[in-house]
Symmetry: C2
Subunit: 341 residues, 2 copies
């Protein structure tokens, strides 16, 4: 595993010239200009293109739900996977609208689906263990999940991959990862998840704080991931690492997906060059998590749904960045006068 930084001064200058020659005031496409430049650097070319974008939705269950940290029962994980397969969830609607392939992966749901059209079976366990008592995964299982994610990313045809997740209890896992990897106090990492009350949030905080005390030895990224993470989070982190190695654009969704990236970035910091941050979630800790990564999200719509919905909604902006660079006229070609001041 080796991820190359995208830094390339000559190419960056070439991209900037191309962007600045378009028939528009200098810098007037704002974030889209930075995005076009980043895509050029990722693809290592002036001739940028998006091919076959896809979103991988990883699903798994979490032993920590035994502590009563979620507003919804654990069965909702498999029920929502069924909803994905029946094309009834928000991510189905938004992925279809924006011509994005959707792939649903069972990384460790506590339910037997049997062989099902549209479901990629990579189930490694019927959920993790309860990290309030013991590590969620063994190091071995965690490494197996990372490797399974890498293998999945190797199979992707397209050059843009979005990440999504489903797993009742996974904002608790993500908040614990955030605390361990950024040092931000647990109280600032926890949020309402699918809809906890203020009391529920406080309880969730206490559960994490106690677990963090119990597993104080876990500090290195893989250990932190194994101790507090989930199978969907670990498999996603593996897929992110491989996708970046393959120089794909990584489209990062909300709180849980970003926590997987925190782990991956701790292992291979250059992965961040490949990341486009789809949105800032309304889940309490996400803004600080993004800040910790120096990330500037494209959208800020108060979403807190997960599933990769932010990725699907941000995809048109990636197309816009590519299209303006490829299709707009230049001042010269359109014979438009340049700035006179």
């Amino acid at each position: 595993m080796s991820i190359s930084p995208t830094h390339n001064e000559a190419l960056a200058a070439q991209l900037d010239r191309a962007i600045n020659n378009k028939t528009k005031p200098l810098g007037s496409l704002g974030v889209l200009e930075a995005l076009a430049r980043q895509i050029g650097l990722i693809q290592n070319t002036r001739d940028i293109a998006l091919t076959k974008p896809s979103i991988l939705v990883f699903a798994a269950d979490h032993g920590v739900v035994a502590e009563g940290i979620s507003a919804y029962p654990q069965d909702v994980t498999w029920q929502m996977v069924e909803n994905f397969l029946a094309r009834g969830a928000a991510i189905n609607v938004f992925a279809t609208q924006n011509h994005c392939e959707l792939r649903v992966i069972d990384a460790g749901v506590n339910h037997d689906f049997g062989p099902r059209d549209g479901l990629t079976d990579r189930k490694l366990a019927h959920g993790t263990r309860n990290f309030a008592n013991e590590p969620a995964m063994s190091r071995d299982l965690c490494q197996t999940a990372l490797a399974a994610g890498m293998a999945l990313a190797s199979e992707l045809e397209g050059n843009v991959v979005g990440f999504g997740e489903m797993g009742i209890g996974n904002t608790t896992a993500a908040a614990a990862l955030m605390h361990k990897l950024t040092g931000i106090p647990v109280a600032q990492c926890v949020g309402a998840g699918t809809g906890l009350s203020a009391d529920g949030i406080l309880h969730k905080q206490r559960v994490i704080e106690a677990a963090v005390d119990r597993h104080a030895h876990a500090t290195e990224a893989l250990d932190v991931l194994a101790t507090f993470g989930g199978l969907e989070i670990a498999m996603m982190a593996g897929a992110m690492l491989k996708a970046a190695e393959l120089r794909k654009i990584l489209l990062i969704d909300g709180f849980i997906v970003t926590s997987a990236l925190l782990v991956a970035a701790r292992m291979h910091p250059a992965i961040l060059d490949y990341c486009v941050f789809a949105h800032c979630s309304d889940e309490n800790g996400h803004k600080q998590m993004l800040d910790a990564l120096g990330a500037k999200p494209l959208l800020n719509l108060g979403l807190r749904l997960g599933e990769g919905t932010g990725c699907a909604l941000a995809l048109p902006l990636l197309h816009a960045a590519v299209n303006f660079l490829n299709q707009m006229a230049t001042f010269e070609s359109a014979q438009v006068s340049e700035k006179s001041e």
Copy 2:
């Protein structure tokens, strides 16, 4: 002209129930939920739909350019109209990407195009007069422009209309309108436009301040519009009023388009019920102008290009709002368990 407020308590409750029954945590689609609700109230139905979205780009010239308030020469107005017709501008690229019809209207460009495919000729003059010396338009001309805009909106087939503009010097006109209609000091209304230096911005401020003193009598909306506005701004305001009367969704772009809405809203405040604010522009005064209208924009991408580009980029979010309400499963239909806490 009569614009009905969209308020309808029974329908709002029905829309909220439909939104809340979708398979997602309550409120988790954030701004998209508010948007679906607003579209339902505008269309006065639970069965919402977007049909044939279009963007009207109004172009005109401004006499006040004689004061040296723009970074680009006046010829850029007609040159950019040519660029629109040749499909080389940013708005062409984004409108095509998002399947949005584009209509370019010559409201008063200082150039003779002759009959041209794709250009709607509603030229009322070769630009306005210099408001540093005299009113930009007579009241009659201004009313003719408003009426021409109303007629254009009456012809639209679709139920979503975005507004865009092109006119060298029109951020100066828009800043003057903003000051007169909101009372915000001129210094906070002016910005760099297409790229003025700090000195250039200060000069622009002084030009507006002197003109405001000269035309202190203009306080009523039509007088303010005639005195400081532009033919594209007046025609756009007329089109907005008629489109709202016809219960269409109005998609509002950046600084200049919002200044036209300021005028329209002063005339008929209920127009605001029909407005979706596409983005917050990087042009200095736009955020305060939106605040003055109580507007919450969908996007915040540092754009300051005009042409209706923000509208085209925001359109996929309108589709997302409509699609989630129409296509997502309910907890009941998908047999997903509801909240347990």
